[in-house]
């Protein structure tokens, strides 16, 4: 690109416990940084305007819509995505509960719901149904009617 080449930003960030050093175009969202630059396509795109939650990741333990964050903003931060949720020991209890409760149909919303729900359970291990519904209201699912998602989160709660 000639005249309008945007400058790239040097970003050092930890993604799912692994350090990455990246040159991120200044205009690039964190979502595209993950999907296009690093190849972590588990974080999904549904709307690109912060209204579906399919792109939910956590930055320093706080859940965000990665389509609304620039890749350049995670310099020095810790990012967790769906790909970092299971460990060599096995699935996270939320992942297991989603499978057992049939909490996914098409599954496109699932990574976002799992990352968001983990954000809740990490701080509040036994939330009420109302609290779960409140916390997950930023994540859209069009397939399930949410019933089995709420039940799965309840199951994974202690």
């Amino acid at each position: 690109m000639t005249t309008n080449t945007p400058s790239k930003v040097h970003v050092t960030t930890t993604i799912n416990g692994q350090q990455h050093e990246l040159l991120v175009p200044g205009y690039m969202s964190l979502l595209d940084t993950l999907r296009e630059l690093i190849g972590l396509t588990g974080t999904k795109e549904g709307c690109l305007d912060g209204n579906c939650g399919a792109c939910t990741v956590s930055i320093d333990g706080r859940i965000v819509d990665s389509c609304l964050v620039l890749g350049a903003e995670v310099d020095g931060k810790e990012v967790s995505t769906i790909e970092g949720m299971a460990t060599p020991e096995g699935l996270h209890p939320l992942q297991q509960a989603f499978l057992e409760e049939a909490a996914l149909q098409c599954g496109i919303c699932t990574p976002g719901f799992l990352v968001a729900a983990k954000g809740l359970l990490d701080n509040e291990p036994s939330p009420s149904e109302g609290r779960i519904r409140h916390w997950l209201a930023g994540n859209l699912c069009r397939c399930t009617g949410y019933d089995k998602i709420v039940r799965a989160v309840q199951k994974a709660s202690s």
Partner: protein, 756 residues
């Protein structure tokens, strides 16, 4: 001769809830959806879209875009192959290639806002978007029409000059009316003349969208051998291939469609959008091209379901027996014909036995996106009208509306509004289950101060299609089985397929490994739609498994040196008819196949009529805030005849998901159109589908009336549940506030208006 089956109950695998085979990939983010496709040298495509709903294109200048660094190809309507006007059946709806092509890329006229006028392929998405802004288009803006009443006026602007409408068999030109059909039975006028109670009401509904979370996408490579490879999120790899080949004017065998995981469709991913454009961009750039649709374009240019105007008239005798009905149904088709008036006619009276009926349906063009199937296309609309009218008829006559529904329920032999006679159906069983349900027998409860509560019920119906499916099996030496089938899996269906195979072979659900094939690895299979998948593809899997048993009996015959007719098979064990103690299990046999003739494979294919009629009744309890008009659903129960539930958890999921889409449609969703044909709410924020916060848990009561047309009694289940919610909620709102609403959405604004 159609095969019929006796119901069984002693299933080993059917009716259990195994973890779905694709589940691990989907909870870990590893599953590859259409948008996740990566290929060496992949570039991105985007569309340049019309800001106008109706306009002539005077000129398009793409030179500035083409000159940009990083741009590889620019196409316009001039690059689209000229497809002939030809109607092709896609399972749920038809397609005319000329119009389908024109819908994807405007020729000399744009017909809806967002209509693509050019497309660009560039090194990345950002560059492609930048280049798209450099395309200049000169438009001559034309007046637009966005509802059926305006579209049928004498002086209405005409969308398609070459459209020849079919008015009860007569050709009409210079019209926006693509079709007018009629179904009439009995003596309608006479029956109304002698009816003790009649009611006639008009109902109006806005367009709504399927609202799948994954936007449309496609990746295509048009190679030097003139072969076109496509990777996409589609509800049917083969119907997608038919459309792509038809629009690109190449033989189907030139196109290979690989269906990637699909993030919801509900009918909206049966039509192709980006696939042919990505292919043409690929041909021009000699690179694989990927396109992912922006959300506003998903709303503005892909498959909404028709907005509708409907007039229903009902007549009943003094004893509460329905005697006459008429329905006048105008559906918005969008910019091309095809508004599902056929299905609407099949569904409108289906829950009832009525001797004298007439239906008139009109398929009307408007300057909005061409509609696509959406879960029981056409049925929720007519359910809203019919079930609201039934309740109002009962209110006026002083009848209990549940008892009225039971007394007039359709049954085996009842004639549907389009003339078809029902075989074994479960409408009466469903209504009896409502009557004895916990929900129906629990009090509504007192509303808190400033609020009002109401309970409503309504029926819903979908006919469920059969069509073509294919399945292949291969035995592994460890006693497991590979299953390849052609139905793209949107909600766990591949596990239901594996369960069909496992049940026949007497092995576990996880001993069968299912794969959804591409168009070069499995035989023709129709769309995942019409609630046909578990029924028809499951049937094909059952056939393939039975064929595999026959193959294996021959191997056992070699092993024991007997005739294969003398080999029995039961619950996973082969035995000799002559010597009952001589047995070998499926797994053990699998390990010996190398010495018994080599690989054992089988195949199954079907072409079926119907997946069995699906009936449901919903109970909705609403609580309305009298100050704000906001409606909360406080309790909700879905009762439905599901035939036999192969995997009950995913059947419940269909019932719950369908109900919630109906709830959204009832209370809030709509295409809010501005006068100039723009959609004012083309984002998830403004369109506002239901969230976790808007809903209670959704209870389900699965009534199982096995479908005699399927070996295990499977009936289609996915579509029926979106039909009852809108009228159930309308009836509940009426009970709560004493005023009936005749228009959707029944949002806070309309309730406040009704309260005044």
């Amino acid at each position: 001769m159609v095969a019929t089956f006796e119901p069984k109950t002693d299933y080993k695998v059917v009716g259990t809830r195994p973890i779905r085979h694709d589940g691990y990939d989907k909870v870990t983010g590893r599953a590859i959806y259409g948008g996740d496709m990566k290929l060496p040298g992949l570039i991105w495509g985007v569309c340049v879209r019309s800001p106008h709903a109706h306009a002539n294109i005077k000129s398009i200048d793409t030179t500035a875009a083409e000159a940009m660094d990083g741009v590889f190809a620019v196409i316009t309507g001039a690059d689209m192959p000229k497809a002939p006007s030809k109607l092709v059946d896609l399972g749920e709806g038809n397609i005319n290639f000329k119009w389908a092509s024109n819908k994807l890329m405007a020729d000399d006229k744009v017909l809806y806002r967002g209509h693509p006028v050019a497309a660009i392929a560039a090194v990345d998405r950002y560059t492609a978007e930048e280049a798209a802004r450099k395309v200049t288009v000169e438009y001559e803006v034309l007046p637009s029409v966005t509802n059926v009443v305006d579209a049928l006026k004498e002086d209405a602007p005409i969308l398609l000059e070459d459209l020849v409408g079919d008015d009860l068999g007569e050709d009409v030109t210079n019209t926006n009316m693509a079709a007018h059909v009629r179904h009439e039975f009995g003596d309608v006028e006479g029956a109304f003349a002698s009816a003790a109670h009649t009611i006639e009401r008009e109902y109006n509904m806005q367009m709504v969208h399927q609202g799948y979370i994954e936007p449309q996408n496609a990746t295509a490579m048009w190679d030097e051998e003139d072969r076109i490879k496509v990777w996409t999120s589609t509800q049917g790899a083969f119907p997608a291939r038919t459309q792509i080949a038809g629009i690109l004017q190449v033989d189907v065998s030139r196109v290979k469609v690989t269906p990637l995981e699909i993030g919801g469709g509900f009918g909206g991913k049966i039509p192709v959008y980006f696939e042919p454009l990505a292919a043409i961009l690929s041909k021009k750039s000699q690179r694989p091209v990927k396109m992912v649709m922006e959300r506003s374009a998903v709303f503005e240019t892909t498959g909404p379901t028709p907005g509708a105007r409907m007039i229903i008239k009902l007549g009943a005798d003094a004893n509460g027996k329905l005697t006459a009905a008429t329905a006048d149904i105008w559906f918005e088709a969008g910019a091309n014909p095809g508004a599902f008036i056929g299905p609407a006619a099949m569904c409108v009276y289906a829950p009832y036995e009525i001797a004298n009926t007439r239906i008139d349906g009109w398929d009307v063009l408007v300057n909005k996106p061409k509609v696509a199937p959406y879960r029981a296309p056409g049925s929720p609309q007519v359910a809203f009208a019919m079930e609201s009218a039934i309740d109002e008829l009962c209110e006026n006559a002083g009848w209990d509306s549940l008892q009225f529904r039971i007394d007039n329920a359709s049954k085996e032999g009842t004639r549907r509004g389009d003339g078809v006679l029902f075989s074994k159906i479960g409408m009466q069983e469903v209504l009896e289950a409502v009557k004895t349900s916990d929900h129906w027998n629990s009090p509504l409860g007192d509303a808190p101060a400033g609020k009002a509560r109401g309970r409503g019920i309504a029926n819903g119906y979908w006919f469920n299609i059969g069509l073509k499916s294919s399945a292949n099996l291969a035995v592994n030496s460890d006693g497991t089985v590979q299953l390849t089938e052609g139905s793209t899996d949107i909600g766990g269906s591949r596990t239901a397929m594996a369960m069909h195979v496992a049940e026949v072979l007497g092995i576990g659900a996880h001993d069968v490994r299912p794969t959804v094939g591409d168009t070069e690895s499995i035989g023709y299979t129709d769309v995942t739609g019409g609630s046909r998948t578990t029924y028809a593809t499951g049937y094909a899997c059952w056939l393939a498994a039975n064929n595999l048993v026959d193959v294996l009996k021959e191997r056992v015959a070699i092993l024991w040196d007997i005739n294969s007719d003398d080999v029995d098979f039961n619950d996973g064990v082969f035995s000799s008819k002559a010597e009952a103690e001589k047995t070998i299990g499926f797994k053990e046999l699998a390990g010996k196949l190398d010495d018994l003739g080599g690989p054992a494979n089988s195949t199954g294919s079907v072409d079926l009529e119907s997946a069995g009629d699906g009936f449901g009744t919903h109970i909705a309890d609403v609580e309305i805030d009298l100050a704000t008009g906001k409606t909360d659903i406080v309790r909700y129960t879905v009762v439905q005849d599901v035939g036999t539930a192969i995997h009950p958890a995913y059947v419940e999921g269909q019932l719950q998901g369908g109900a919630v889409q109906g709830i959204g449609w009832a209370l809030n969703e709509e295409y809010f159109m501005l006068d100039d044909g723009r959609m004012a709410n083309s984002s998830f924020l403004d369109y506002r589908m239901p969230t976790t916060l808007d809903l209670p848990l959704i209870d389900t009561v699965m009534v199982e009336v096995p479908n005699p047309l399927h070996p295990y009694g499977v009936r289609g289940v996915g579509e029926t549940p979106i039909c009852p919610p809108i009228p159930a909620i309308a009836n509940a709102i009426k009970e709560a506030i004493g005023t009936r609403l005749y228009e959707t959405p029944m949002n806070a604004g309309s309730i406040l208006k009704a309260l005044k």
